[in-house]
Amino acid sequence: MTTKTTFKTALLAAAAFGALSAAPAFAAGDGVGACLITKTDTNPFFVKMKEGAEAKAAELGVDLKTYAGKIDGDHETQVAAIETCIADGAKGILITASDTSSIVSAVKQARDAGMLVIALDTPLNPIDAADATFATDNFLAGELIGKWAAATLGDEAANAKIAMLDLAVSQPTVGVLRDQGFLTGFGIDVKDPGKWGDEDDPRIVGNDVTAGNEEGGRKAMENLLAKDPMINVVYTINEPAAAGAYEALKAIGREGDVLIVSVDGGCPGVANVKDGVIGATSQQYPLLMASKGIEAIAAWAKDGTKPAPTEGKNFFDTGVALVTDKPAEGVESISVAEGMDRCWG
């Protein structure tokens, strides 16, 4: 008798517990489903993006599921993620695509299924394959550091020796935009703005690729220094590459008289601006991209409104700010302290 009662109570309790834990899932199922698909889930940039999306989703009662490729360039996993989201009946997808052209057919499937697809950070190719793009203006990000470097050098800009530390030989759009933006800002003719490396300005010592990490940054810098040891301006695709370049310069005792500029605005990067490793960096805002994206999906599910692009651009610009403690004339910037407040990773 007693055993039976205990068993019953246990069953009841279990049922109650089950109902309780199922409750939030119910509420969300009632609301809107959304997916976030990032290139990887290890890069702090995407970690921050995920945080932003999760916070906003919790606030709006959106049921968010996140997916990520195993490594940058892992296209198959992203396609599988889109298919899962379609099967799941989600209302919208936020995606940072690894392969911006190949993903288009999978994205089309999702849109045909009535989903809102927003490209975050990386525009698809063509850009209108997604319903909207929420991204940093990478060209502007490059232009800001280019202008800053030119203004900081003053008249010496005419005799600068520039090292260009790019991302990869496959020339992904983000890398090309930042590179060409920097050169434009610095006042150098970029020839074809769709690719880097075709410039013939004698001030450019050379281009080399870094894979966007410290190791690659150091090696690329060493290679270019072997070409010309008197390089005095270094453009870097991101802050880890900049940190690597700094080590290479330190090894030959030239870290003090070279201007390093970068793009990203991660916390270690901004700390490096503070320490004088990097002269200035253009900060982008992944958290904002994701939270705006979730808002857009919620609005789409509610009454079918699509997000509008920023005026004069074909994407929604989530903003970029130049972080430096040595502001230059005619280039708008924010202080390192402010950059620290808004940094990610």
Binding site: T42, V169, E222, N223, A226, P240, A243, I252, G345
Partner: protein, 353 residues
């Protein structure tokens, strides 16, 4: 008693000279083939010398300077150290796909033990080295005792170790400035000796000493000969009294230990502790080993060859970059070198003298 002595009598009438192979009539090609069979590091050494010469002629001062030549040494130090670990495993007819991952995890352990837990740097370094050795032990145990194929074991460990690395570190970089301030020992291998224009980092010196030491151990000690024996024919080795399992486990543990040192050297090289670096370490080290003429079928090759192989890749990348060639050309030529090296290896294997 007298009968036993009768047995000995028979020996007296047997030929007393030591058995020898019949000398063939040798052509020049045969003799080269034989020489290469005896000294497997000769091919990469010749290719290395030739490529330095060619790039020297094309680029002059810029390439043929003490600065540029020692720079190559610095640029290949990580691959060279990993290659030493890889060579040991490949000599046993195995392969280690997890070398790069073990290296990064070890460096992350060194960094986080110093910074997250505030332990003394010496202890953190020791922990990192222990971590690498332990990963190697798992590999060795699974290969030797569980008898799983090395390719599968290390393919799995590669993923496991990398994922552990990302989970444990949250992919946060520890900056060079903080390390220099609070735990300079981590950057030990970044210290350098400058002689004129030549710059030798401790990491590069360590790589060369490590390879020389291992070359000696592999040639001159019982353990070293056992490694070759196990790679050549594990059953024959076992029958002649070699402790095959123990040798295999020791090889994988030593490989893990060397990878941990590579992790330490990596901190010296890039200044910071970065969980995203070194992901191509396995492929690059296998490339160095193969170009260096070590047979992927085990039991043949010299670790010196691996060092030359790594240097060939270094010479090609720097030389081609200085010539202003697209970086893709480097990869293309390295691909050609790999296939050429294995072709030469197959040809040498057919040696019949």
């Amino acid at each position: 008693m007298s009968e036993t002595q009768d047995y000995e009598k028979a020996a007296a009438s047997s030929p007393s000279s030591v058995a020898v192979f019949a000398a063939h009539d040798q052509g020049a090609v045969k003799r080269i083939q034989h020489a290469l069979h005896q000294t497997p590091w000769m091919v990469p050494a010749i290719v290395l010398a030739a490529s330095i010469l060619v790039f020297g002629l094309l680029l002059g001062e810029k390439f043929f300077s003490p600065f540029a030549l020692t720079l190559i040494l610095q640029q290949v130090q990580i691959v060279g150290i990993l290659g030493a670990a890889q060579s040991l495993v490949i000599l046993t007819a195995g392969i280690d796909l997890s070398v790069g991952a073990i290296m990064v995890l070890s460096s992350v352990v060194m960094g986080l033990f110093s910074f997250r837990y505030g332990l003394p740097t010496e202890l953190a370094v020791a922990a990192g080295i222990a971590c690498g050795t332990f990963c190697g032990f798992i590999n060795g145990f699974l290969v030797a005792v569980m008898r799983l194929p090395p390719f599968i074991v290390t393919l799995g460990m590669w993923q496991i170790v990398l994922a552990t690395n990302f989970l444990y570190s949250a992919n946060e970089t520890i900056r060079a400035q903080e390390i220099a301030e609070q735990a300079p020992l981590l950057q030990f291998f970044g210290n350098k000796i400058a002689i004129g224009g030549a710059i030798f980092t401790y990491g590069a010196i360590f790589m060369v000493l490590l390879v020389l030491f291992l070359a000696y151990v592999l040639r001159q000690t019982a353990w070293g000969r056992h490694v070759y024996a196990v790679g050549d024919d594990p059953e024959a080795a076992e029958l002649s009294g070699v402790q095959v399992k123990r040798t295999l486990i020791s090889v994988y543990m030593l490989s893990g230990l060397i990878c941990a040192f590579a992790g330490w050297a990596l901190i010296g090289r890039i200044g910071s502790v970065s969980p995203t670096s070194g992901q191509l370490g396995n492929i690059e080290s296998i490339t160095a080993v193969v170009i260096g003429g070590i047979s992927l079928f085990g039991g043949r090759g010299s670790i010196m060859g691996m060092l030359f192989g790594a240097l060939i890749v270094g010479v090609f990348s720097l030389g081609l970059r200085l010539l202003g060639a697209d970086a893709q050309w480097t990869y293309l030529l390295i691909g050609v070198l790999i296939i050429a090296a294995v072709t030469v290896d197959q040809w040498i294997r057919k040696v019949s003298v």
